[in-house]
C-alpha cells in the first residue's frame, strides 16, 4: 500500500509542479482538433445561413432544425448531434466505450492523429519524469521524437488487442449473457446493476491492456528496450506488481469520477447561469482536468515502475 501511495503522491507532485507543461499539453490537444474544427465550422456556417428565416432570432439552437440538418448531414457534420452539448459529451463518449457503440468512420482521422500526438507527448513526459526536472522545450521535443515510432507501435498493438476484446468478450457479455440476465431478473434496477457488473468485468480487460501499454512505454524510455522486449517487461512487471499498478489506476479513476461528478453537477445545478460561453469555458476546464489525470497516470506509473525496477535492468 505504501508503494501505491508513494507512486500516487509522486504523480500528483509531478503534475502540480508542471503547470506550464499542462497548459502546453492542453494547447496541443486543442491544436490537434483545430483542422477538423475548421471543416465543421465551415459546414455549420453554411447550414445555419441556409436556415429559413423563421428559425432566426432565437438564442438557442432549434431541435427541429437540428433533426432536419442531421438528415442531410454528411462527413464530419454528421457527428454534430445534441450529444456534443456540455456534460452530455463526456457522458456519451464514456457510454460509447462501455457499450461498444461504433463511431462514425469519419472520426478515424482525429483519433489516429490523437494517437500520434500522444505517442509523441508520452516520450517527452516520461523523459521529463525520468530526469526529475523540467527539460525545456527542445529536449522535450527531442525525447518525444525519439520514442514516437515505438510508442505508436505500442498503441497500435494495444488498439488491436482492444478490438479483439470488443469483438469477443464484449460481444458475449453484452449479447447473450446480458440478454440471459435480463430474462432472469424481475426489475429494471436489478438489470442495471448486472450491467454495471458486466461493465466492471469488461472494463478490467480494457484496463489490463492499457496498463500493459503504459508500462511498456516506460520500459522503452527507462530501460531503453525495443518494443517487443518492452511489452514482455511490462507483462512481467504486471504479473509481479499488478495489484499495485491496478490500485494506482483505480485511485486515479476515483479522481476521474470526481471530476465527472463535479462537471455534471455544475451543469445540472448551474442551469442557465452556467450556459452560453461560460459552459464552453467550463468544458475546456474539464478537458484540462482530464489531461492532468492522464499525465498523473503516466507519472504515477513511472514512479511505481522505478520502485520495483530490477537492479540488473538496463537504465537510461
Amino acid at each position: 500500500m505504501r508503494s501505491v501511495l508513494r507512486a500516487f503522491g509522486a504523480g500528483v507532485r509531478a503534475v502540480v509542479t508542471a503547470p506550464v507543461l499542462l497548459i502546453a499539453v492542453t494547447l496541443t490537444t486543442m491544436l490537434a482538433a483545430v483542422p477538423f474544427g475548421v471543416v465543421l465550422e465551415s459546414q455549420l456556417r453554411e447550414a445555419l445561413a441556409h436556415r429559413q428565416p423563421v428559425y432566426l432570432g432565437t438564442a438557442e439552437i432549434d431541435a427541429e432544425w437540428w433533426l432536419e440538418f442531421r438528415e442531410h448531414a454528411e462527413g464530419m457534420a454528421a457527428t454534430f448531434t445534441p450529444a456534443i452539448i456540455g456534460f452530455a459529451a463526456p457522458l456519451s463518449n464514456l457510454s460509447a466505450i462501455l457499450d461498444g457503440t461504433s463511431q462514425p468512420l469519419v472520426l478515424l482521422g482525429p483519433i489516429v492523429l490523437a494517437g500520434v500526438v500522444w505517442a509523441w507527448l508520452w516520450g517527452g513526459w516520461i523523459a521529463r519524469l525520468r530526469a526529475g526536472r523540467g527539460l525545456g522545450p527542445r529536449a522535450f521535443f527531442r525525447a518525444g521524437r525519439q520514442h514516437v515510432v515505438a510508442f505508436a507501435a505500442i498503441s497500435l498493438a494495444a488498439a488491436a488487442t482492444q478490438l479483439v476484446l470488443y469483438l469477443t468478450v464484449h460481444a458475449v457479455l453484452f449479447g447473450p449473457v446480458f440478454e440471459w440476465i435480463t430474462a432472469m431478473v424481475a426489475t429494471e434496477r436489478a438489470a442495471f446493476f448486472w450491467r454495471v457488473a458486466l461493465y466492471a468485468v469488461f472494463g478490467a480487460c480494457l484496463i489490463a491492456v492499457s496498463l500493459a501499454a503504459d508500462y511498456a512505454r516506460i520500459s522503452v524510455v527507462v530501460e531503453r528496450r525495443a518494443v517487443t522486449p518492452a511489452i514482455a517487461t511490462s507483462l512481467a512487471f504486471l504479473r509481479a506488481h499488478g495489484g499495485q499498478a491496478v490500485a494506482v489506476y483505480l485511485l486515479i479513476g476515483v479522481l476521474f469520477v470526481a471530476l465527472m461528478t463535479l462537471y455534471g453537477t455544475a451543469e445540472v445545478v448551474g442551469g442557465t447561469r452556467l450556459g452560453g460561453w461560460r459552459s464552453i469555458l467550463i468544458g475546456q476546464g474539464f478537458i484540462m482536468g482530464r489531461l492532468a489525470l492522464r499525465l498523473l497516470q503516466g507519472a504515477a506509473a513511472v514512479s511505481l515502475f522505478g520502485q520495483y525496477q530490477r537492479p540488473d535492468a538496463p537504465v537510461s
Partner: protein, 413 residues
Amino acid sequence: MLAQPQAPAAIAEAARGYETRIERIERAGAEPLAVRFILKPDTAGRGSRLIDATTSALKRLDEWHGPLAIPELTVIDLPWNSPWAGASYAGTVVTTARALEPPSDRALERTLVAALARQYWPVPAGSSDAQRRLGEGLALYVGVRAIHEQLEGRHFATARWFGGFVPYTTRSIEWSPSPTDPRPRMRHFAEVERPAEAPWRAASSATGGEAQRVALALHTLERYLGWPAMQQVLQGFNQRWRAGQAAENDLAAVITEQRGRDLRWFFDDAFRSGTHLDYGISGFSSEPDQSAAGSYRTHVSLQRFGDGVFTGTAEPASGSFRNARSLRVVTRFEDGTVAEDWWDGRVAEFALTYSGPARAVSVSVDPDAMLLLDRDRSNNTRAPAHLTETGARLAASWFLWLQDVMLAATALL
C-alpha cells in the same frame, strides 16, 4: 361505430399481481371516465405522475376530438423491456415507467400520450389500406401534437446511455417551445413511432413510409390553416371516422364544409408518399445596374425540384397569370427594405427581378417553413454565410466534444 382490436391476453398476464388503482376522471360534456391503473411494484411510487399525465392528456384529447367513447380505460405500466411498451388497444394502453426517470425525462408522458391519442383514431380489422394508412398517420400526428401541448415549456432533449438505463437531459435544447413560437416543432419521437411495425399499429410508422407521409401532410395542413381551424377539422372528421369508413376525401370535404375552401389540390399531392415536393432557390444575384447609376438589379431564380406541386388553389392555371398565393418569397436588401412576392409553385422554374437602390442580401422561399412536406428545406434560403453567436457556441461545443472523443479513444491505448 368502429371497434378497435382487443388487447392480447399476454398483456394482462404480464401485469398479473401488480397494484391496481381506480381513478374517475371528470370530463366536460360526458360522464366521468373510470381509469384503472395497473402499476408494477418497483415504480408504483410514481403512480401520481402517471395519473396526472393521463388526466391532462385525456382532457386535452377530449377537447380536440369530443369525449372518448369508451366505458372504461385501463393504463398498464409494464417492465422496461416489455415488447408491449406504447401499445394501444380498445380501452387499454401500455406504458413503461423506467427505474431511472427524473422529472426532466418525459419519456413516460410521451409514451402515455401517444398511446392515448391512438384511442381516438381506432382502425378496425378489415379496413382498407388507405384507411389504415390514414388512421396511423392521424394517430402519429395527434400523438406528437398532444405531447407538445402537454409538455410545453418543460420538455427538453433527453438521451439514454449506458445500455439505455441512464437518462441525461440537455436543457439548452427545448423540444416543446411555446405555441406562440412560430418555428415548426419536432415531429418525431421514438415513443410515438417505434417500433415501426407493431400489432397495435394500423400501418407501419417507418420513416419515409406512407403513414409518416400522412402525418407530415397533416402537420403542413395545420401550419397552412392554423391550429384553431385545424382543431375544428379534426373534431369534425373524427365524428365521421368513428361512424366508420371515412377516408381522405372525407377529410377534404370536412375542410370545405367548415372553411368554405376547396383543398383537393392539397390532398392530390400531399398525401401521396411517391410525390416529391421540393421548392428551392436555384440562383440569386444582386449586381450594380449598368444602365442606371446607383441602382442594383437583383435576380432570384426559384425552382420546383420535385414532381409534386403546392399551388394553393384547385383552379387550373390561366396562362402565365399566377392565380394563387401558396408560397411566399421574401427578399431582403442592405437598406432594410423587404420585397415580398408569391409563387403558385406550378412551373418548374420561376424568376423574380428587382431593381432598387440597395443590394439584396438574402432571399427565402417559404420563409415561415409552412410547407413541412418540402423534402429539402436547406435549399430554401440563400444568405451570407457568417457565423452567428449561436453558431459559434455550437461550433465551440463540437470542438470540446471532439477533444473529448480524441481523449476517450486514446485513453486506453
